[in-house]
Amino acid sequence: MTLAIGSLTIGLILSLLAFGILMSFRVVAFEDLTVDGSLALGGATTATLIVTGWHPIAATLSGALAGGLAGSVTAILNTKFDINRLLSGILVMTALYSINLRILGKSNIPLRSDLTIMKYSNWLATQLSGQDSFMSLGLWQAPATDVTAMIMMLVIALTAGGILAIFFRTNCGLAMQAVGDNNRMTRALGVDVKRMTILALFVGNAMIATAGSLLAQYQGFADIQMGIGMLVWGVASVILGESLVGTKKIGFLIAGALMGSVLFRLLVAIALRWGLNPNDLKLITALFVFAALVLPKILSGGSSLVRGRNRA
């Protein structure tokens, strides 16, 4: 049960990663490869600030801001300097590796949970369970801190998803969706597509960096390697979510990304439990994404992530 709760919590944290991927890959149709770098950037920035004595919430927000700036650099390389979208992302991701090392100062920073946002869920746990450090969930007993950590991440994920869903109903959000849906029309209707792309990648990578920041605080350390493979992980979650909701409506896609992220993490936990070698995890994830992209194409239309787009 502890294992399941832990997986759920990480799945919820990484739903922010899935939202960010949704924002770039789906909403503005920008194959943004900054992800691995910006996730680690979020973790590194937050961890370093917490160690130097910052308030955890301010440190988390700073991590998000740093990630957002990294994303907008990628978008600016593409829109203002006409560098290919993939190459722009690779350039920023590569540069971020050194920047993250500079920020961390070494390859790994441990974090005490009483200094991170985990202190709020720990406080909640003592409020709910008193001296008893276990809570009963139906038939199971689980450590109270694990349960409250999950609740906190659930609230954060739902809030982020909710804000995103509301944003996409505004004039600005509608215009942003149109960028990825029909670029030519969007320009003809007076939307500054370049600025919109920069904004989308800012918001997307800010969310991805927040995922990195929360992950570092939950796990109790920030690591230079923590971003590796996260792009594919997020894409897998988004694809899984798309097939769960079976529609292209943005509100459903957001809900799908959240569910996909949690479900994918649970599937991975089960596979590991069954004896999957953790070293093979990234290979399995890549194969999963490959299968998810190719199978629907063979069966019918294909995922919107690989569908040919109208980019006149």
């Binding site: 505004t170 004039n171 215009a175 149109a178 029309m185 007076g190 109208n310």
Partner: protein
Amino acid sequence: MLELKGIFKTFFPNTPNEVRALRGVDLRITPGSWVNIIGTNGSGKSTLLNATAGTFPLDQGEIILDGNRITRWPEHRRAKLIGRVFQDPFSGTAPSMTIAENLALAARRGQARGLGFALRTGWRNDLRDRVAAMGLGLEDKIEKPMDTLSGGQRQSITLLMAGLVRPSLLLLDEHTAALDPKSADKIIELTGKFIAENQLTTIMVTHSMQQAANFGDRIIMMHQGSICHDISGLQKSRVRASDLIAKFDEVRRSDQLDESVADMLRSNYV
């Protein structure tokens, strides 16, 4: 009032693929008039339209629209003044967004897009009424995604979108060419009604001599990147499709003459 002064545009300059698409176009269009542009393939008619819309920068020349020197304005800034309908029915609308969302996007053409909700209930009803007024029976489908509509239906929505914010200039780029004949007739009829009701200044590029003869109040024929005929006033009202086809033949014959004369000169003197 639209003024084009000495427009030049060459694509891929100094390469084997060089295309001198526009070679000194001068054109004045008075407010409220409807100009049809005809011409052979590659004559520069669509390029002229795109130059006006700002799809690419000019090599030379000035564009002035309603007193604004828009030559250096980017495409999205010109969109404030210009409404467009494209040839490809898929180009004018966002396929996975609903009809209502597409209309809401168009309703803010050229305005700031802030964090206000795009579709309030009152506004939604207003949009429904406007769609109903087109008489296509699409008013019950405004919550459906655009890609559930046929090409003709999409073009009529695009037309409605182009006029939601009254444009200083409406650009129609062969907007019926990709439709079946029946839908094409319906759309051109709708276009005529729409332009008359809103008194829009319009440039329409068309392949159909019938459309060029029956609609609008001026015809411009383009050839090799410049204007070769300009028919307006009484002359325009008398012109028939067959007259226009005769003009095309004239142009074609003079093209052949160029080549055959060159051949003759070559065989005699080189």
